[in-house]
Symmetry: C2
């Protein structure tokens, strides 16, 4: 195995370690040593790849952004109609399985850690605004007759609802099963006339 392959493989392992610690142990236990232990390396390597602890959080958030972006772009491409695309994209933002549940936990953890940290909160806002614009674009395509304000209002209702239910389900999966979340999403889309 070449050297660069080793490096990128270790980078991936480190990414997974950051992710899993934040997702499974929460923000407060996201320490350099915990990440090193999860990655099977030492704090020396971790500090070599990340200048400080804040960038661990930042990295997890950027990972979340990248993963969801790739997923929604695939879903958009695979969708037959704009309304199917809208539904598929919103659906993947809820906490329907263990994978998406962990994503919600990471989202919450980063948000909590970004409070009172200008740089981190800026990243949060960037990502959220991109997400909002995407859903607005999909909503506009799904309801071409709507004016901009209607589009913005309904898109906000939809992203807030899916993010909210993801947060609820992240902390209490038993009380918010996937079927309930999907029923909720379909009820909302139906109510707004987007079915």
């Amino acid at each position: 195995m070449s050297r660069t392959a080793d490096r990128s493989a270790q980078g991936a392992a480190l990414s997974r370690a950051v992710w899993s610690v934040l997702a499974e142990q929460g923000l407060e236990r996201l320490t350099v040593r915990a990440v090193a232990a999860a990655a099977g390396c030492t704090t020396g390597l971790v500090m070599h790849r990340f200048p400080n602890r804040r960038t661990l959080l930042l990295h997890a958030r950027q990972l979340l952004h990248r993963v969801t972006r790739e997923r929604v772009e695939m879903l958009e491409a695979a969708a037959g109609t704009p309304r199917e695309a809208l539904r598929a994209v919103l659906r993947q933002g809820m906490a329907l399985d263990e994978r998406t549940r962990q994503e919600a936990v990471v989202w919450i953890g980063f948000l909590a850690g970004a409070i009172a940290d200008d740089e981190l909160i800026a990243e949060h806002r960037r990502n959220n605004r991109a997400w909002r614009e995407r859903v607005e674009r999909l909503t506009a395509a799904a309801a071409p007759e709507w004016n901009a304000e209607r589009v913005a209002t309904v898109a906000l209702a939809l992203i807030a609802m899916t993010e909210g239910v993801a947060a609820y389900a992240a902390a209490d999966p038993g009380a918010f099963p996937a079927a309930d979340q999907e029923r909720m999403l379909d009820a909302a889309l139906g109510a707004y006339g987007l079915t």
Copy 2:
């Protein structure tokens, strides 16, 4: 001033200190020393009133529960119709001003701190389930003709939406002004036929 009055006044000051540190500095800076500094006392007093740091978080969450419960009960009592009550109760759950914005920050901070803590997460679930049941009750009163499943689905959509927008607005008030949140709420209630 009597002694018990002093004590309860100091307890209130301590409560405010816990709250403000969590709301303004975030979960990670919610330390015993930071609370003591905010309350103008020493760590000795803090540790006298709270057995350990975890109960600081727990206290903030219970404070949030109490405050919102009292507020929604007032709003319910003051509402003319079931639908007005539903709207008023949902409305106060969004982040419309600095006060409610801080409440959303506390909600997020506690949730992030409760990950991987059985006792704290149990409190979170208790409170969220009570909140959900309240909104289900209000929804059933606002739409008596609905069956239980429809009530549960729409109530979930409403609490997820308001909690979600509160989380968004907590971290980016400029991008989610109160007027947008209210418009979103009214659009949702209208779409579900609850206006």
